[in-house]
C-alpha cells in the first residue's frame, strides 16, 4: 500500500489524506476500530490517500471498505485537520531509513499532510476487522480505553465523538450500530454510552417511541436474565425521513 503510493505518488492527491473513525457498539461499549503497525508502539485510525481520479467521499468509502468489508453504511465527513506540525514526527528521516525509502522518493511524505476526518457507524456483529498485510493488527477498542495514538489522531477521535454527540440531538441513531432486532434497553445503553450519562428508562422509552421510527415486534429477547425485554426494529422508511429532515427543530 505505502509502497504503491510512494512509487506512484503522482496518482494521489498530494499532501492530503483521509482518516476514518469507525464506531461500533458491542457489550454496552462504544468501540473504535484501530490499527497498529507492528513496528510502531502506537495505534492509529484507519486512513488512506486520495486517488486523483476519485471524489474524496469515494476515497473515504474505500478506506472504510478495505478495513471492514462493509459499504453502504453511515459515513460522514466531520472535520479537516491541518495544523502545521501535525505529522512532523511521523515520516521523519529516521522512519524513511527504517522503511528503506529513498529520501528523494519519500521527501513528499515528510511535508505537512492535511487530513480529512470521516466517521462511520457500523454494525459490530457484521464486521470482521481486516488487516492489510502481515504486520498490521486491526482491533475494536472501547472508546474509553483507547491507548496512545499517533499524530493528532486522539484529537480527531475526540472531535468525531463530539460531533456524534451533537448530531444525536439532530438525527436518529442506531440503525447502523445495532443489529436488525434490538431492545429498548439496548438502544438506551447506546445513547448513554455515547453521551456518557445516565438516562431515565421510562422517559427514554417515551421520547424514543414518540419519534415514530420504531416498530414493536411480536417477539421477546430470549436467554436473558430477568424479565425478557421486547424486541424492536427500525421502520427504515420513517427513519430515513427523520434522518433527512432532522429532529428537534429548535426555532
Amino acid at each position: 500500500m505505502l509502497k504503491d503510493i510512494i512509487d506512484n505518488n503522482e496518482n494521489y492527491q498530494p499532501g492530503l489524506s483521509i482518516d476514518c473513525v469507525i464506531f461500533g457498539f458491542h457489550d454496552n461499549q462504544l468501540k473504535v476500530l484501530l490499527i497498529k503497525v507492528e513496528r510502531a508502539n502506537k495505534w492509529s485510525l484507519p486512513g488512506g490517500f486520495i486517488p486523483v481520479d476519485q471524489d474524496i467521499d469515494t476515497a473515504a468509502i474505500t478506506v472504510l471498505n478495505s478495513r471492514t468489508g462493509v459499504d453502504g453504511v453511515f459515513l460522514r465527513q466531520f472535520a479537516t485537520f491541518g495544523k502545521v506540525d501535525r505529522n512532523k514526527q511521523h515520516f521523519d528521516k529516521k522512519t524513511l531509513e527504517y522503511l528503506k525509502i529513498e529520501e528523494a522518493k519519500g521527501k513528499w511524505l515528510m511535508r505537512r499532510f492535511v487530513t480529512i476526518g470521516y466517521y462511520a457507524l457500523v454494525d459490530f456483529s457484521k464486521i470482521l476487522p481486516n488487516p492489510i498485510g502481515r504486520y498490521e493488527i486491526v482491533e475494536w477498542i472501547d472508546h474509553k480505553e483507547v491507548p496512545e495514538l499517533i499524530l493528532d489522531h486522539r484529537e480527531i477521535l475526540d472531535k468525531a465523538l463530539d460531533t456524534l454527540r451533537t448530531e444525536l440531538n439532530l438525527m436518529p441513531i442506531g440503525y447502523n450500530l445495532l443489529p436488525e432486532k434490538f431492545t429498548i434497553p439496548e438502544l438506551q445503553k447506546l445513547y448513554e454510552t455515547i453521551l456518557d450519562k445516565k438516562l431515565d428508562r421510562r422517559n427514554f422509552l417515551r421520547k424514543i417511541t414518540n419519534i415514530g421510527i420504531l416498530t414493536k415486534l411480536d417477539e421477546k429477547k430470549s436467554n436473558v436474565a430477568h424479565k425478557a425485554p421486547n424486541l424492536y426494529s427500525f421502520d427504515k422508511e420513517k427513519y430515513d425521513e427523520v434522518l433527512k429532515n432532522g429532529l428537534n427543530q429548535g426555532w
Copy 2:
C-alpha cells in the same frame, strides 16, 4: 497574489485551497461577500491558498482578514469539498494562456483542488470590502440574489448556510453580525432571514431573553417610524458561556 503562488508554489500546500463564506447582515438581508474578477463573468467566494508553514485555520483567518480587514471574529470550518471534477474548467489551458502563465509552471493548477470551507459572521457596518488589485470587485450581495458562481461555489455557499441554520439551534448568534446596540425586532429579523421563516414576535422575545445573554439598555432606538423599540446589547460573558456549552441539549 496568483503570480506569487505560481512562482513559489513550493511554499504552498499543493492541491489545497480555502474558501470563505462571509456573512453579514444589513437592511434585513443576509449578505454574502463575493468577488468578481473583471475578466470573468462569474462571481466567486473569497479564497486563498495555504502556506506550508501555517495552520489551515490561520490561513483561513488570513483570507478573511485580507478581504475585510477584520479579525477576531467568528470563523468556523464547516466542510471540505473534493469532487474529482470540481475545478476542471477553472484553470484549463485556455485560461493559462489568457493569464500568460507558462504551461509548465501552471500545470499543477490544472489538477483537482480540494477546498476547505470556512464561514464567517461579521459586523456589516465595520467592513469595508477590500479589493486586491485593480481588476477585482468585492461586494456584499443578498444571499437570495447571488448570481452564478464559479466551480462548486454555489454548493459551498448552500452548505455554509445550511450549517449556519443547524447551528442556530445549538448556539446563540448575533454577537458577530449585529452592531453593539440593537433591538429585539432586529435580532428577530436576523433569525427569520437565516431560517427563511416568520417567527412570532412575542414568543421570540420570551425565548431569546430566557437564554440569558441579553442586557436590556435604558435607551430606545431613535429616528424610527412608529413606537421606538428598546435597545439591547449582548452580555459577552454569558454569551460566550452559552456559545461554549451550547443550548438545546436534547438528550
